[in-house]
């Protein structure tokens, strides 16, 4: 599977955090809850995360975890 670069992720396996963040921070229904992240706030979160990422090992570990499963 890895030779062709085609790595299907089977349900239940650990997914890459970065793919999940794409979806939960920029997807989903935005409704006016008593607290709801606005689009602008999400952008801020994402921006600061992208700056953070090189200094945080957790995310990379996370991604490596997901590699091993795929």
């Amino acid at each position: 599977m890895t030779e062709s670069g085609y790595d299907p992720v089977i349900r239940g396996e650990r997914i890459a955090l970065v793919d999940l963040l794409d979806r939960v921070l920029a997807g989903g229904v935005v409704i006016t809850g008593d607290i709801t992240l606005s689009i602008a706030e999400v952008d801020l979160v994402t921006v600061s995360l992208r700056a953070l990422v090189t200094s945080v090992s957790a995310l990379m570990d996370d991604i490596h975890d997901s590699r091993e499963y795929s």
């Binding site: 963040l21 979806r23 935005v30 607290i35 992240l37 706030e41 995310l59």
Partner: protein
């Protein structure tokens, strides 16, 4: 139910109640989900405390990558559990209400939107396709491909070096534009299998844990009966396009296709 001041975290909305969640299914804050029904719709929610999920705490915690990772995974786990039983419209992460009444009101006020979204995603799933530009030197990407430029014209080691270097640069530039062209083709070809598609910005190489630059980060909403054909098309495109490496993820709850502000197609 909620000790002191609590919040109601909303995961998503289903039509029929999704039924009891398996024992031990814990959501955000380690709390098992429950449901609230109104207007013929069911909200999947969980009770969370003010100390960690109140407005001020939330703002701080969202900047904490470990917290965010844990919370995003918990949010996703509940949505995935619900999606196994039937269509579920995901809420964006961190949609919170002070009480059940707020959730009930939202179900009533937005009933038409939720029903429309449920009918769009019913018997369909989201799939993610990413393409990475493969370096020309990478044997997996361009097996046995000779460097550009005719051989045998060099008159000395210096000239040969320059010629080789020029060929490398040309090959690298070609590979990059080939990869972009492939990404466009892949995106369009896969769209033919999908009800709807959406482009995300490519993930930064550091963030994606990949050396190769990402040239495509797309999500597709695909009818479940076409899921196999879609996966086969991804495999086929991988074989036909040497300058990109494709990855397929999913099925996902339909995160990318329920927001009213995101129409089909590229943003």
């Amino acid at each position: 139910m909620t000790a002191n001041r609590g919040w109601v975290w909303m995961y998503g909305v289903t039509g029929e109640p999704p039924g009891a969640f398996a024992d031990g299914v814990a959501g955000v804050g380690g709390v098992p989900p429950r449901t609230i029904t109104a207007a013929g719709l069911t909200a999947v929610v969980g009770d969370v405390g003010d100390r960690e999920y109140g407005e001020a705490a939330l703002r701080r915690n969202l900047e904490d990558l470990d917290w965010l990772a844990r919370t995003a995974r918990a949010h996703h786990a509940i949505l995935e559990a619900a999606a196994e039983r039937g269509p579920v419209v995901p809420m964006r992460l961190a949609t919170l209400f002070t009480s059940d009444a707020g959730v009930t009101g939202t179900l009533r006020d937005r009933a038409d939107d939720f029903r429309k979204a449920l009918s769009l995603i019913g018997a369909r799933s989201e799939w993610g396709v990413k393409a990475y530009a493969v370096k020309p030197a990478d044997p997996a990407g361009a097996p046995g491909r000779p460097a550009a430029g005719p051989d045998g014209q060099a008159t000395g080691p210096g000239a040969a070096y320059l010629q080789r270097r020029r060929a490398q640069l040309t090959a690298s530039k070609d590979a990059s534009s080939e990869a972009m062209a492939s990404a466009r083709t892949v995106y369009a070809e896969l769209s033919r299998f999908a009800v709807s598609s959406r482009l995300y910005p490519p993930q930064a190489p550091d963030l994606a844990g990949q050396q190769a630059p990402m040239v495509l980060n797309a999500a597709y909403l695909v009818a479940d009966e076409r899921a196999d054909a879609f996966a086969a098309a991804v495999a086929d495109l991988t074989a036909r396009h040497r300058f990109v490496r494709l990855t397929l993820t999913g099925p996902w709850p339909a995160y990318s296709f329920v927001g009213e502000d995101d129409g089909p197609g590229p943003r």
